[in-house]
């Protein structure tokens, strides 16, 4: 269970403070929408630990995580773009998610190959991100997020700018994760994405 208690945040030089307070149960998907600047990315950045709140707490399974650095939180993120390191091949990009020094054992390597194959990217391990389509790149980013096996998945407009076919493939992958009990927050301005994935839909 994810709990945000009286969480406050303001960018330097801005008078307006954001205030977040909600609870999200395991295996649920919460969708956020609203105009740009309404605080969707800010909220996701706070939960992931990229931004430091002024006050309040973030609890996961009853334990405060807001003092942990980003790399220790039970969180994986997928952004709209710049998810992949452009000069490293697909396999390395995913592998760095399993071990930050790329020290992978055989089961790890097998898991990467297997997931690539399962998502229609079999044999793509040695391709560079620049050779992939937008949908394929996002699938690689989602594969990495999935293989990190963190219980909380934060999706910041991951389907924006993709064609309907690519979106559907991503929907399928994410729904499978949801069925496995992964908790998700999806920031998206597309109603179809929110309908397909989310249990509840908030306007910020």
């Amino acid at each position: 269970m994810l709990e945000l208690k009286n969480l406050r945040f303001g960018y330097p030089g801005q008078n307006k403070d954001w205030h977040f307070e909600f609870t999200l149960h395991e295996g649920e998907c919460l969708a956020l929408h609203g105009p740009s600047g309404s605080g969707k990315s800010t909220l996701l950045g706070l939960i992931a630990g990229f931004l430091t709140p002024k006050a309040g707490q973030i609890l996961w399974q009853g334990e405060a995580v807001n003092h942990q650095p980003p790399w220790q939180r039970p969180v994986s993120s997928v952004f709209q773009e710049h998810n992949l390191f452009e000069h490293l091949d697909v396999f390395t990009n995913i592998g760095l998610g399993l071990h930050p020094g790329l020290k992978l054992d055989t089961p790890d390597k097998k898991a990467i190959e297997h997931t690539l194959e399962r998502t229609g990217l079999g044999g793509f391990g040695h391709r560079m991100p620049g050779e992939l389509s937008g949908g394929q790149r996002q699938r690689v980013a989602v594969i990495r997020a999935i293989l990190r096996r963190q219980p909380l998945l934060l999706l910041d407009e991951p389907m924006t700018g993709l064609d309907p076919h690519a979106r559907q493939e991503l929907h399928a992958m994410l729904l499978e994760e949801k069925a496995n009990g992964i908790t998700m927050i999806l920031a998206s301005h597309d109603q179809d994405d929110r309908k397909a994935l989310a249990d509840s839909d908030w306007s910020l």
Binding site: A48, P69, P70, S77, F79, E86, P100, G101, R148, D156
Partner: protein
Amino acid sequence: MNTSLPRAPFSHPGWQLWPGLLLGGALVLLVALGFGSLLLTAGKLDPASVLNNRYLRGVVQFTVWQALLSVILSLTLALPVARALARHRQFPGRSLLLRLMELSLVLPTIVAVSGIISVYGRQGWLTGLLEQLVPGHSWNLYGLSGILLAHVFFNAPLAARILLQAMESVPQPRLRMASQLGLRGWWLWKAVEWPAVKPVLPGLTALVFTLCFTSFAIIMTLGGGPGTTTLEVAIYQALRFEFDFNQAALLAIIQLLICGSLWWLVFRQGLDTSLLPRRRFSFPVPLPGWPGQVIANSLLIAVFAAFLIFPLLAIGFRGLPALLPTDGAPALYQQLLPATGRSLLIALPAGVGAVLVALLTLAASNRAKHNLLAAIPSLTGYLPLIVPPLVLGTGLFILIRPELGNAAQGWTLVALINGLMAVPFVLQVLRGPMTAMDKNTLKQADQLGILGWYRWRWLYWPHMRRPVALGLAYGIALSLGDFGVIALFGSPGQPTLPVLLYQQLGSYRVAEAAGTGLWLLLLLVLIFASLSGVTRRSHQSLTQSSTTAMPDPEHA
């Protein structure tokens, strides 16, 4: 219908094209003349005898060797400093340190050298400390060690600034991804930092190499003798002391060949090095590190800051007593004030000229459609990087053979060459804001008939006011600090400030030299402060009027 509108002055499209084109053409012609005279003069020499000349070979070898070492040392220092600064984005004094690092672009070489001598010279602060710690040490500033030290002082901050800018331009999501994955050390470098740094590295290396290769004032003051002569100094000696024009021309061509081929290699890769920082706000992303990394980084930044600050402090401390009148006005001012006048006489026209050339060049290259025509204006921006000032000066010197007593003739040339040398830097400042005008605004202006002078006055000038002032300050500062071209054309009896400083250093009048150095430094601060002050005030009134006086079209 449009004919009933009052026509704006200078609204014919030709006004945007031809002034810049003619001016650019004239400058290219000037460079061609200088270059042509070099070729003609050097053509009289027998190439075989030149290649076997041991003195020449020694000069070329030493020039390349010291430049190479300077590049390696500067980048070795700059890279970890840039990494540390990229990682720690909020600590007290950070922005001050960044300003200090940008200072090396405009700090006159000869002033910095006088500061370096005050710290590391025979009676320097640190030398005294070293004497106590290690008695009988063999440290000697004069020679290769001093040259390298001064080159690192100038180029490490410049390189670190450019590298830092490259690292700060990493997209925020990528940085966040690296943070979430917990990348550190080698993999952080490989995945995030190296790809950011890689594109600027060739240009940066070429820039630092060129700056060290063509460095003049540092070699003149810190070089220890014939063993540490570089091409530029050899050219100067050949022209001013040996009157061996053939030799000078040949040396200039060798220098041109080496610098030119280096830049050709770099440009062929098609890169864009922006030397002046774009400031932007980005929220710092926490990144994992090794235990002790914070301490190591803090130490590194502190040492680096001290390395930059000490020479400047030394100028301040040693120069102030020389400038402050204790019993009547110090005799120093009798030399200082006329030298200031002469310096400004050269620097002000050079600065204004550089800004005008840059503006007209930009207008012309925006307007020119024909490829060949468009090349002329952009060429003026790069010429000075490829043809170093002293090479151009040598060519023109040989062509005109100025009567050394004729000050006016010499100074006109000095102002002209200095202005030309400042153009690339001014262009860097002005290009962004000039081309940033969005298409819709321009379409709107076309429809309303805001053309020519009116377009400049009401659309460009409000945005360009600050960049123009900054460009002007850079142009004036660069000419004010010039020591190379003036050494070639000036007469020792009528020194500008840098020449006066050089003379004082040469005759070991250390206190007076510090006074002159401080004076020149204060003059630069005054120029930057007054120009940025003027624009800041008008900028404020502009934003005020735009928020209060703008009528809301919905309710009009």
